[in-house]
């Protein structure tokens, strides 16, 4: 018995030391994975493609994000990211309460055109109370009102070559060598034509506040928060988003976040 106790203690010691060194090296042994060109990272990131295909298979085109009741709106929509863009063109529009604002629909469309805020507000609208899920982990329930994007796309008539929409925004979260990097996002045509995908101009029965993306914010309700671009001025239909930013399809995607953002 005493031999057993000795062995046990010694082995506990060895085991604890081994485990703690394993855990302690866990800290920076894998730091190389943050480099965007790293091969191991690129391999691991293929799992995001699997997620995209699996969810597209399970989701169906029109499965709706859960909608909530009025009583579940218990707070204002938490602003995150840009909350007051400083770009001159945006500041000028804001000063005149966005009367000069135009949403441009362009790219691979038969009939490019632009819309004033009043025009968008006069089109059929959709209101939905949905849960906004930030990639950081928090959630917030709010009521969004806007023009279904599919109506705008039907008017513009997408060319057959169009595969994605790119949303160009006024705000910038980061500065590059040639000036501020403007926020942009993109989505596939399934998300673009989803019934809950709207060009939102209203939040909780009020005009969309500047902190939440005034005058127009895109809502793609089956995706995380960074997929809901604020301060959108242009919707561009493209066959590839390789030529924008670093080619990953969005501001955060260029910094290593997954493009699909469904989980």
């Amino acid at each position: 018995m005493s031999k057993l106790v000795y062995g046990r203690r010694r082995l506990f010691g060895i085991g604890t030391a081994g485990l703690s060194s394993l855990v302690l090296t866990g800290c920076n042994q894998f730091d190389f994975l943050d480099e965007s060109g790293d091969r191991v990272r690129a391999f691991l990131a293929k799992a995001n493609d699997v997620t995209y295909f699996a969810q597209r298979l399970l989701l169906g085109r029109d499965a709706l994000a859960r909608e909530y009741s009025e009583t579940e709106i218990r707070q204002g929509q938490r602003p995150n990211g840009s909350t007051d863009p400083e770009a001159e063109d945006y500041v000028a529009l804001k000063a005149k309460d966005f009367v000069d604002f135009r949403l441009t629909v362009t790219g691979l469309v038969e009939r490019p055109r632009d819309y004033s805020l009043a025009e968008l507000r006069n089109m059929p609208s959709r209101t939905q109370i949905t849960r906004h899920d930030c990639v950081e982990g928090w959630s917030c329930i709010a009521k969004w009102t806007g023009t279904p994007l599919s109506i705008v796309l039907d008017e513009a008539r997408l060319k057959p070559a169009a595969r994605y929409l790119v949303f160009h925004c006024y705000d910038s979260l980061d500065a590059g060598l040639t000036g501020p990097i403007r926020y942009y996002e993109s989505c596939d045509l399934i998300d673009a034509r989803h019934p809950q995908t709207i060009l939102a101009y209203g939040l909780n029965n009020q005009p969309l506040p500047v902190a939440n993306g005034a005058p127009i914010r895109v809502r793609i309700e089956r995706a995380l928060g960074y997929k809901q671009p604020k301060y959108v001025h242009t919707v561009e239909a493209v066959d590839s988003f390789a030529r924008f930013g670093r080619g990953k399809g969005g501001f955060w995607e260029d910094l290593g976040y997954d493009w699909y953002a469904g989980i």
Binding site: L11, A47, A65, E72, S139, Y257
Partner: protein, 283 residues
């Protein structure tokens, strides 16, 4: 394989082929997956180190059950962990870690996250890769285990197991282990809990946090009590898996690490000599 020729003073038991290739490969894949899932998961948690109950996170109201943050005090920054409204000073581990000269702010310390610095994007890349690998491994194990009889034969507690339960508990409490062909009843309970409760719960609560999956399977989030509750259960289940890991490794060390490791690497396991060294009869 009947007897080792370099046997020592004590008679050695028989070597038996105990763990199939399916059990061994899936065991080590899980070990690798859970290591990376834990450390990348803590990285993701650190992006917003607060847990809530319900659908949403209370910013204008309080539905937090766990919050890790840092507060300024006259003697410098202190780490604070608040559980159900009760605050604890966790400086050095949670909230604030590192040295007084170079404090590190954040939920869990850099030693417990991948990467060591705040990098949510990379944490997510690592987490979802190993999440898929874990699910694939679970499915392979389930199919193999049903087909080759491992689950029914080795893991399902029998009536005899249940009547042995008090004796088994007493033997564990005295760190006395019997080495036979089959698992003892506490092992069966523990392995079944991990494989049929904790790991599936981990996968389901993980999926429930996906806005895409919430549209595909609306029942999932209802079942779990809301997205933020799912996130909290995901975290709690993680702590139970860590607890299992600690006990599991302790039991391996106490029961004879070389023999236990050999059986999980080569499949071959040395049983107690008959009759047992302590005069016990093998079941």
């Amino acid at each position: 394989m009947q007897q080792d020729h370099h046997a020592g003073q004590e008679p050695l038991g028989r070597l038996i082929y105990r763990q199939s290739i399916w059990t061994r490969v899936t065991h080590w894949l899980w070990a690798i997956c859970l290591f990376f899932l834990l450390l990348s998961g803590l990285q993701i948690f650190n992006a917003h180190p607060t847990l809530y109950v319900g659908q949403q996170s209370g910013f204008a109201f309080d539905n937090a059950v766990l919050r890790i943050d840092a507060i300024d005090t006259p003697s410098g920054p202190r780490g604070r962990t608040t559980i159900f409204g009760r605050s604890f000073d966790t400086t050095g581990v949670l909230g604030v870690s590192g040295t007084a000269e170079q404090p590190q702010f954040g939920g869990f310390p850099p030693a417990l996250t991948i990467p060591s610095f705040q990098d949510l994007a990379t944490g997510r890349v690592v987490h979802f890769f190993f999440a898929w690998l874990l699910v694939a491994t679970l499915l392979v194990w389930l199919c193999a285990g049903l087909l080759n009889g491992h689950i029914l034969r080795d893991l399902t507690p029998t009536a005899a197991d249940l009547s042995n339960l008090p004796r088994d508990v007493a033997e564990h409490a005295r760190f006395r282990f019997r080495h036979g062909r089959s698992y003892n009843v506490l092992q069966k309970f523990a392995y079944c809990a991990v494989l049929f409760v904790l790991l599936p719960l981990m996968v389901l609560t993980g999926l429930a946090m996906s806005p895409g999956m919430d549209a595909a399977w609306p029942w999932l989030i209802e079942l779990l009590g809301g997205r933020q509750t799912a996130r909290t259960i995901h975290f709690l289940t993680m702590t139970l898996l860590v607890l299992f890991f600690v006990v599991h490794v302790a039991m391996v060390l106490a029961a004879g690490p070389l023999n236990e490791l050999r059986s999980m690497i080569t499949g071959w396991y040395r049983t107690d000599p008959k009759p047992g060294a302590n005069g016990e009869i093998e079941p």
